[in-house]
Symmetry: C2
Subunit: 229 residues, 2 copies
């Protein structure tokens, strides 16, 4: 029996496990991983479902969504690789508080939650490290919500444009992964006003819009708007 080699060399979560688990424990955990590809638009978890897995995003982009009623949704956050997908309530609730939906083709790696918990109980260092990461994710959500709350329409749109450019795509030209409606659900304004504001930015030559592609043409001005509106 040859030694097991984890195939996930690019997986950022490795460090978490590596640094804190015995080699044997790490490998047995890794061996049981279930990897799955969710195409763009597909539902990864449904709000209310039982949480059975500890999941993390290897590639792609997802949104966390809260269903208020039949018609209305709130987007809690967008999550990229390294942000855990089932992050929010994994240790505190038995059911998913939010739905998770793929915005781009996304690879999810899952481990049985029971086993991760078991491992955490046996290894405090691992548990603490896990808590740290989950904590940070929650913190970021709260901080972003506060940042959005303190801005008005224009500032909120500027903020989210800068978020995608700086945090997600690391480029001032990118394909907008979300619809105007989704932006509205994220910043808590109406779809019409999101559209209007983007048009306004286009007319003021702050951004260029070409189909799904957005180019930030005047970043300085966009930053100004994000700070002052």
């Amino acid at each position: 029996m040859g030694e097991y080699q984890c195939s996930c060399n690019g997986c950022e979560l490795r460090s978490l496990f590596f640094e804190n688990l015995e080699k044997g424990a790490y490998e047995s955990m890794c061996a049981k991983k279930q990897q799955q590809l969710y195409p763009k638009g597909s539902l990864i978890y449904r709000q209310g479902e039982k949480i059975s897995h500890f999941s993390y995003l290897k590639s792609g982009l997802v949104k966390l969504v809260r269903n208020i009623d039949d018609k209305n949704e709130q987007i809690i956050c967008f999550a990229r690789p390294l942000d855990f997908v089932s992050l929010l309530s994994i240790f505190s609730e038995t059911c998913h508080q939010y739905s998770v939906i793929a915005l781009e083709d996304s690879e999810i790696c899952s481990l049985y939650l029971d086993e991760v918990k078991e491992m955490a109980m046996q290894n405090g260092r691992f548990a603490l490290s896990l808590a740290e990461k989950i904590n940070r994710a929650s913190d970021n959500i709260i901080l972003t919500m506060l940042n959005i709350r303190q801005r008005r329409l224009l500032g909120r749109i500027a903020y989210i444009l800068l978020y995608f450019a700086n945090e997600v795509y690391k480029s001032d030209v990118f394909d907008m992964p979300v619809s105007r409606k989704e932006i509205a659900e994220f910043i808590g304004m109406t779809t019409e006003n999101v559209i209007r504001t983007l048009s306004e930015f286009r007319q003021d030559k702050i951004i260029k819009i070409n189909g799904k592609t957005i180019e930030i043409a005047d970043k300085e001005k966009l930053v100004q708007i994000s700070l002052n509106a």
Copy 2:
């Protein structure tokens, strides 16, 4: 040397430690606790300070506040006993992300963070239990922020009135622990509009106001407003 008896019989955090720590570890931790009384209005932690203690609220009421600039503040949440005070970033950041201020005379019990962390590393069950509690606190903050975001002025005021009545004071008559300005900072509206709305509720006989004392006179209507506005 007689056996050490923890004096904090009413402390809800006991269970967390009790269930998960060896008696010796629990007692040595408990023996080092620092208990302090913060009078109403006093600063417990200042945003930006280094986090040195693991703290929890034994009695009283506090607010978590984010200073945006010289003049403007955002209130993140109110915390009662059982909610940890230094909860948000305790494992993920080295500095307090928010200030904590006493709204009522408050007793805080503190343990050295390093020691709690050390203990968590040595005891996975304890670490997991801690993570669970901190996780739940973050979840609640996020949920409350989403609940407020989906409402408009009247709904937000109704929501916070019901929050104090149902969650904090468990009574439809209570002394409002926060100013109109603080309500405004919490719900993200202006002070004038908070005042106006409360007056409106008073005129519509939904609440009675007598100095600091609020009485919810027509709870059914208040719930309706909270759901529809």
